[in-house]
Amino acid sequence: MTETSRTIGYAPEDEEDAPEQRWAFWRSDTFKRLMRHKAFVAGALVFGIVAIVAILAPWIAPADPNKLAIRFKFRPPSWDFPFGTDNFGRDQLSRVVYGARLSLGIGLGVVILNAVFGILLGAAAGYVRKLDGPLMRLADAFMAFPSILLALGIAAALGPSSYTAVIAISVVYIPRTARIVRASVLVVREMEFVQAALACGASHYRIVRKHVLPNCMAPLIVQLSFIFAYAVLTEAVLSFLGLGAAPPTPTWGNIIAEGRTYIREAEWITLIPGIVLAATVLALNLLGDGLRDVLDPRLKVPQG
């Protein structure tokens, strides 16, 4: 094997092996570009705060979110009750903090289900040509319904609870996710490195897992961040309409729904969770926009 270097002439001398690149992502170009994207950083910051609050809810909330204290009812925001109290005298800050837990938990559940089934169905439709037609027509059928109506219908059929909310919202968005995965799979499967893997005797399972799917991740991640936002919003709508978690459990949607009766006298009950909800959804959208700008080079706009 040594003879060959004669005509090649440029085999560089071996250098010391570079140290294992364990933190490759943090030093990568993608990460640096994300950090330069102002909207992404703002979104990530706000969402990060909401997520930390949700995780640390028992330590952050000043009181039990369900503890009734009628003598403190309808207190406006003050030092003792930063977000005020509701018609039962419950501490609104604690309720919003615990509500974040449920909202983000449901959002996360929807994202996970979307990732799993979106990848499975999208890969099946994109890679197995015979499944493409039937699966995509089925997706069309689901997408023909207005999304809120479909979620309402499924949640109503299954009975109100946070699990049914996850399922109902997932069913609405999985066809969209599957479509996006399918579109990327259709592009990647025609690339030459897939042919090369076939020529090396790789099985179809290996090709899909090692060659096709890793190259379809960018649009999927972008889509999932938007789905997180829609899921939080849709969950609020469902529990506002009484189809989410049952009332004593606080969710942003049912806090707003309960406060609606007193909106003239105690507007903070609806206003504050409304603002938190809007801020969270906005943050997730900014985050998704940033990811799309950085990960999806086809949509790249020159930045001044």
Binding site: M1, E3, T4, S5, R6, T7, I8, G9, Y10, A11, P12, E13, D14, E15, E16, D17, A18, Q21, G133, M191, E192, F193, Q195, A196, A197, L198, A199, C200, G201, A202, S203, R206, K210, H211, P214, N215
Partner: protein, 335 residues
């Protein structure tokens, strides 16, 4: 010269069907990409396959490796008919048959390190990741003129020529006997082309490789091939050993192709044969000789009857009505 051929292709046909309609589609025609192609390649030699874009050369290469299923015809490798093999036996055969692709950017998975890329064929054939495999990766990198520290990098960190070397290293990983070079140097700069071609020749000598070298550049093919086949619209029109083909091209298409090679002597007289028109559509190829629509010497018989490929000399075969053994044939006489 009398050893049995390593690769023997007979009557290879590939028609890609064209469908119309959204749901209940029906076939409305087919692209006749490869139509009745036969040739053989002896062990240790290089067969050049040339022709213009869309004439079916790449399809032929991929058919031989069974990356596409042929419509008809047979492919014998080392005496075994690849068509009759079951999936698993064929998979095992892939150790011996490899391919180097044209596009050094598209043929390497951007999400894998170079080490993972070039050892993938070995992992597929059951070798466990570990120090032995890493050592083999380094060995392969050295064989193609790259350094072992390149193993941990990703494809985007390399230039086109280096990527092509990585592609070659991957093709060599399973110690194959036969490699299809599908326009392996067409996407590279001329100076890098020379390096890669020299590398391919050295590897051939050292590892006793057999090549099917597909290209559209006759100059490159002349350098590396032992014999050359010229394809036009899915058919081989002329096949001869290199010297004969370049000195005495007999088919009008080959003559036109050769006359298009630039000569590095400005005042040397050239009889440039410029073909008129475009290549006809392979969906509806011309009747008779497929070249008659552009042939400067076409006669009535060319429009009606498809010319058979006949031997006119030792290993020199031409498919043209106007070429007869022993007769000078059409066109400008060889100087």
């Amino acid at each position: 010269m009398t050893a049995p051929p390593l690769v023997d292709v007979k009557g290879l046909v590939k028609h890609f069907p064209i469908y119309s309609g959204l749901m209940f589609s029906k076939q409305i025609g087919s692209v006749q990409a490869v139509d009745d192609v036969s040739f053989h390649i002896r062990a240790g030699e290089t067969l050049g396959l040339v022709g213009e874009s869309g004439c079916g050369k790449s399809t032929t290469g991929r058919l031989i490796l069974k990356l596409i299923q042929p419509t008809a015809g047979s492919i014998h490798y080392d005496g075994v008919d690849l068509q009759t093999l079951d999936a698993e036996t064929m998979r095992q055969k892939r150790r011996d048959l490899q391919i180097i692709f044209q596009d050094p950017y598209g043929s390497l998975n951007p999400r894998m390190t170079v080490e993972d890329i070039i050892t993938e064929p070995l992992v597929i054939f059951g070798e466990k990741p570990g120090p032995a495999l890493a050592k083999r990766a380094r060995e392969l990198l050295k064989t193609v003129g790259l350094a072992s520290f390149h193993a941990r990098r990703y494809p985007h960190e390399f230039s086109g020529g280096q990527r092509q070397r990585i592609g070659i290293a991957r093709a060599l990983a399973t110690r194959p006997k036969f490699i299809v070079c599908d326009e392996a140097v067409s996407a590279l700069d001329v100076s890098i082309q020379a390096q890669v071609i020299n590398l391919l020749q050295d590897l051939q000598e050292e590892l006793k490789l057999t090549y099917l070298f597909i290209a559209h550049d006759l100059g490159v093919v002349k350098h590396i091939s032992d014999r050359v086949a010229v394809m036009y619209l899915g058919k081989i029109v002329e096949l001869a050993d290199k010297r004969t083909l370049y000195k005495q091209p007999r088919h009008p298409y080959t003559q036109a192709l050769l006359s298009a090679i630039p000569v590095p002597k400005p005042r040397a007289g050239r009889n440039r044969i410029v073909l008129k028109g475009d290549v006809p559509s392979p969906i509806n190829p011309p009747k008779g000789c497929r070249f008659h629509t552009r042939c400067p010497y076409a006669e009535p018989v060319c429009r009606e009857v498809e010319p058979p490929r006949i031997a006119i000399g030792t290993g020199h075969e031409v498919a043209c009505h106007l070429v007869k053994p022993g007769l000078p044939g059409p066109g400008p006489k060889a100087a």
